[in-house]
Every structure is written in C-alpha cells, then in structure tokens.
C-alpha cells in the first residue's frame, strides 16, 4: 500500500496507523478488524488483498464486485485495465508457478527455500501467520545449532531466509485443489496454477471432547500455554498431557509463577528424559493415571475439573483457574482429501521416502505426514520434498512409458 505512494507521489499519500498506539483513531474509523485501508475518508477495503486488486479498487474507488459488474455490462467508460480484475475475481489465475507450497511452518519454508534455489518459481500460501506450531513454543532446545531459542525467533529467522527467495502470502489458505493439465490452487484471494504442490499444512491441537470443554474454551481452557499462560500468574492451572509439549509448557508456566499440576492418563511420561528430570527438579506435582472427565465453570469462566482415575475409576474434583491441553495433534488434511490423497490409518498423509503422495505432482512433509513431528524432521522432509519436486519436473515418473 505504501508503494502506491512511491509510485505516484504527486497524487497519493499513505499513512500507516498502528491501532495499539492510537486506539481513538482506530475507533474513529471503526477499525476493529485489521488490516483495513480507508481511502479518501470513505472507501474501505478490508483485509489483505492481492496487489493488483488493491490498486484497481483504490484507483477506481469501487470494489472488485462492482467493477466486474460494470465491466460485464460493457460500460463504455470502463478502462481496459479492469481486465486485470478478472484475475482478482478468479476468472483467470493470479499467477503461474512451478511449485505452490501450502503452509509456512518449518517444513513448508524449507521446501520453498530448496525449491526456489533449484530454479523453481515458488509461492508459499499460509492460512494464518508464518511459523506454524513452532511459534506457540516458548523455548526450543533440541533444534541443532541452537542451545536454546524462542519459537518465534527461530521461525523469524527461517521465514526471513525464505523471503530472500520467494513470496509468502499470509492470511491465504487453501480452499480447493483442482487437478488438470496443471494443478490449480484456489484460495479466498486468488487462483494459482502450478506444476506441483507441496502440502505442509501441519496439524491442529487435539481436544478432549468432554463436557464443558467447548463452552469454556478461551475462558479457562486453552491449547497454548505460551499464548495464555501469562493470565494465570499466581493462580492454579492443570496441564493435561505426557509428551514433550506438555512438560515443556508446564516448566514454562512454573517459571512464569503459575501454579501448575500435570495430569496424565498413564503412569509414566512419554517425554524426553531431560524434560522429566526438569519436572522433578522444579517440584511440579503430577497426577498420574487420570483423565479429565469434565470442565466445570460458569459464565465467569473455568472453576475446576472433574478427574477420573483410569485405573480405579475413582472420581475427584480439582479447583483450577485454567486448564491447558497438550495431548497431541490432528493433521490438517481436509482439503487434500478432496482430491483423493491417501491417508494412513492414523489420518496422516501417506508418502514415500521422497515425500511423494499417491498423486503425481503432489508432495507432503512436516507434521501432516505424521512421524515424530519435530522441527528437525520437518526441515529434513521439506528439503526432501522440494528435491523430489525438482527431480520429477525434470523427469516426470508418471509419464514414463513402461
């Protein structure tokens, strides 16, 4: 947006308003949901738009839908450049690439770096923000090269490196995949044609599915200790889970002066020994063999949890202010399933050693393919996928005459 002010300094002025520092100004323009662009006080454009569409709308002070309507009515006053709008409206693709990577976590970004370096024109599409699950982790201590590094910090470094090579579109997730001569990827903001697609869509946090969870989610029940832990300083919470994430987050909460108790359905942790020792050393209490039966609370939020001992069947209640779940992930495979990508028995995308799925020209890497789901493996899988893409584009295995 600021670039338009560089292009036409004679006519365009651009002001970037940080709403955090200027709340009254944000209120004045009703800017609750950002980004929002207001031109000449009255023309409003919501969200992140593709560049050409933003420019067209801003110049004509009309939204895409209206411009398209007028164009279709063959308005003689309409300038030919509006044909560019057809692009924004999805009548013709917004861009052609050699590779589209879905997901900007460590797997996707690594795939993008490798692909672009191989000479393949690459685009990364990310539904949310760059970084994937890693940005929810306060400290990463097992990524080689870093004794300890913040999740956000690590992903900023990887993202910055990826940006040296290719474009990353945030806030633009996959809506649909179509397979034809090229692979067509459709998002809310555009359509792209690609020779190949790398799925690095990761996984979403699992929930327990017990009573009270949905009602109290966001009001005491959370899946992200690094996001929400700060609200429980000096208070009591439980951390449900027995893996690395649960223990790392429990230690992190303890450090933040949050009273934390681990609740695990088995009698031993699955997490790294190092983390288990950390829990003992920190004196964090563990309730073994128990699962959460119900989240209890009222309109003011979570008040407690009902636990069930899975060995004895005994029920008990614990007063808590917060409950964090770290019980695993569900792979994000909804969209690829539409086109018949094969999943394994646990719901992860099935791939060969080179990250190829059952569908030629479609590859997958990172948490979405299962495995040990580490940053270190995501990075390895991302590079492997990109190298397979390069190999297959040069020598398509699916067209070889047998």
């Amino acid at each position: 947006m600021l670039r338009t002010a560089i292009e036409r300094p004679d006519l365009i002025s651009a002001e970037c308003v940080e709403t955090g520092e200027n709340p009254e100004l944000a209120d004045k323009y009703d800017a609750q949901s950002v980004p929002l662009t207001v031109t000449n006080e009255t023309f409003r454009q919501k969200g992140l738009l593709p560049e050409e569409r933003f420019v067209l709308e801003m110049v004509y002070l009309k939204h895409a839908e209206q411009l398209l309507e007028e164009m279709q009515k063959n308005d003689p006053d309409m300038v030919p450049e509006v044909a560019g709008l057809a692009m924004a409206e999805g009548l013709t693709p917004a861009g052609e690439f050699d590779v589209v990577v879905a997901g900007a976590g460590p797997a996707g970004l690594t795939a993008a770096i490798y692909a672009e370096r191989s000479g393949l024109k690459t685009l990364v599409l990310e539904k949310g923000v760059v970084g994937g699950q890693v940005i929810l982790t306060p400290e990463v201590e097992n990524y080689p090269g870093f004794k300890t590094v913040g999740g956000v910090q690590l992903m900023e470094m990887i993202a910055s490196q990826a940006r040296d090579y290719c474009e990353i579109h945030e806030g633009e997730g996959l809506d649909e995949i179509k397979i034809g001569k090229k692979i067509e990827v459709i998002t809310a903001k555009g359509r792209y044609l690609a020779k190949s697609l790398v799925l690095a869509t990761g996984a979403s946090a699992k929930l327990l599915g017990v009573p009270g969870e949905a009602q109290l989610f966001g009001r005491g029940v959370s899946v992200c200790a690094s996001c929400d832990g700060w609200a429980y300083k000096g208070k009591q919470v439980i951390m449900v889970g027995g893996g690395n994430t649960a223990l790392t987050e429990a230690l992190h909460l303890k450090n933040m002066d949050v009273g934390v108790t681990l609740v695990h359905r088995r009698d031993e942790f699955r997490a790294e020994k190092h983390l288990q020792n950390g829990i003992k050393k920190a004196g964090i209490e563990v309730i073994w063999d128990c699962g959460v039966e119900e989240f209890l609370g009222d309109e003011t939020g979570l008040k407690g949890v009902r636990l069930k001992n899975l060995k004895t069947g005994e029920l008990s209640e614990l007063k808590v202010d917060g409950a964090f779940l770290a019980i695993g992930w569900n792979p994000n495979t909804e969209i690829p399933q539409q086109v018949g990508v094969t999943l394994d028995q646990w719901g992860y995308i099935k791939v060969d050693r080179n990250m190829r799925t059952n569908i030629p020209r479609i590859y997958a890497c990172g948490d979405v393919i299962g495995g040990v789901q580490q940053i270190a493996t995501a990075v390895g899988e991302g590079s492997t996928a990109a190298l397979a893409v390069f190999e297959d584009i040069s020598n398509p295995y699916w067209t070889k005459a047998e």
Partner: protein, 150 residues
C-alpha cells in the same frame, strides 16, 4: 525545533545483534540518501515514544545514507507537515507523503525497512500492471491503513 541525532558510541542498542548485522549489510546497498523525520511529544504515549526513538536511532546508526531528525509537535516542521500525533514518522517527506502514526513494530518494521529501500531506489516495486493502472490515476488518493502490532 529539530535536533540532529547525537551519535554516541556507548549508547545502548534497541535492536538485537542479528537484526543489526542484517540491516547494516542491507543499508550499504542504498543508492540514494533517505531522510526520516520523527515527531514525539512527551506526555503523549511516552512508552511508545521511547520505542520509536530507540528504534530510529538504531536505524540511523546502521545506515550511512540514512539521516534522522527529531522534532516535537509544536515546531515548524510539525505544522508544515500537519503532524499532530506522537509518535509519528515521516519517510523522505520532501519527496513523498509516507507517514507512520505509531511505531512500526514486528511485521510492520519489515515493511518499513522495505519501504526505505524502495524510496532510496526511487522505485515502487509494484508490478507492471499495477503501475499501468496507477498511471491512469488523475485525482488525489489519501490512504490510511490500520494495522495492529504483531
């Protein structure tokens, strides 16, 4: 009233080491000088003023071709450019009307750096079709973009 940045070597840095190294390298490639005008008024948004000043001081020290002026809201420049909020930042105001109302942080900081580089090159970095459309613009467009700090 505007004062030049005091360049003290022993002042603390606001940005982390790796960012500074990256930016120093990047700024070496600036072809043309870029002027930044920072406007602050004590008593208005003080913690944000501090962040803006600290960030801009770092930027100034990292780029030889970057010059920085500090102003308050009562002086001539504030009135010439119509600045009434603290902190505010103008980029190359003698040539462009590009303004930050509030400190560019997080993702916006990256965009700000990019913008400075584009301004230094005198190029917008827009696609040819965007530029063609903009070439046809005949009236003023005053853009306000609202973003939230990442």
């Amino acid at each position: 009233m505007s004062k030049k940045t005091p360049k003290k070597a022993e002042e603390q840095w606001y940005l982390p080491q790796d960012s500074r190294t990256h930016l120093e390298k990047l700024f070496k490639e600036m072809p043309e000088p870029v002027t930044l005008e920072v406007f602050t008024q004590s008593g208005m948004n003080d913690p944000y003023n501090e962040a803006m000043v600290a960030f801009m001081r770092d930027i100034d020290r990292l780029g030889e071709k970057i010059s920085l002026n500090f102003n308050d809201l009562h002086g001539e420049k504030a009135s010439t450019y119509g600045v009434s909020r603290s902190p505010s930042l103008l980029v190359q105001p003698d040539k462009y009307r590009i303004r930050y109302t509030g400190t560019p942080l997080g993702e916006e900081a990256r965009v700000f750096i990019e913008t400075m580089m584009l301004v230094s090159h005198g190029k917008s970095g827009l696609s040819q079709s965007s530029r063609d459309v903009l070439a046809g613009l005949k009236e003023q467009r005053e853009l306000k973009v609202f973003i939230s700090p990442t």
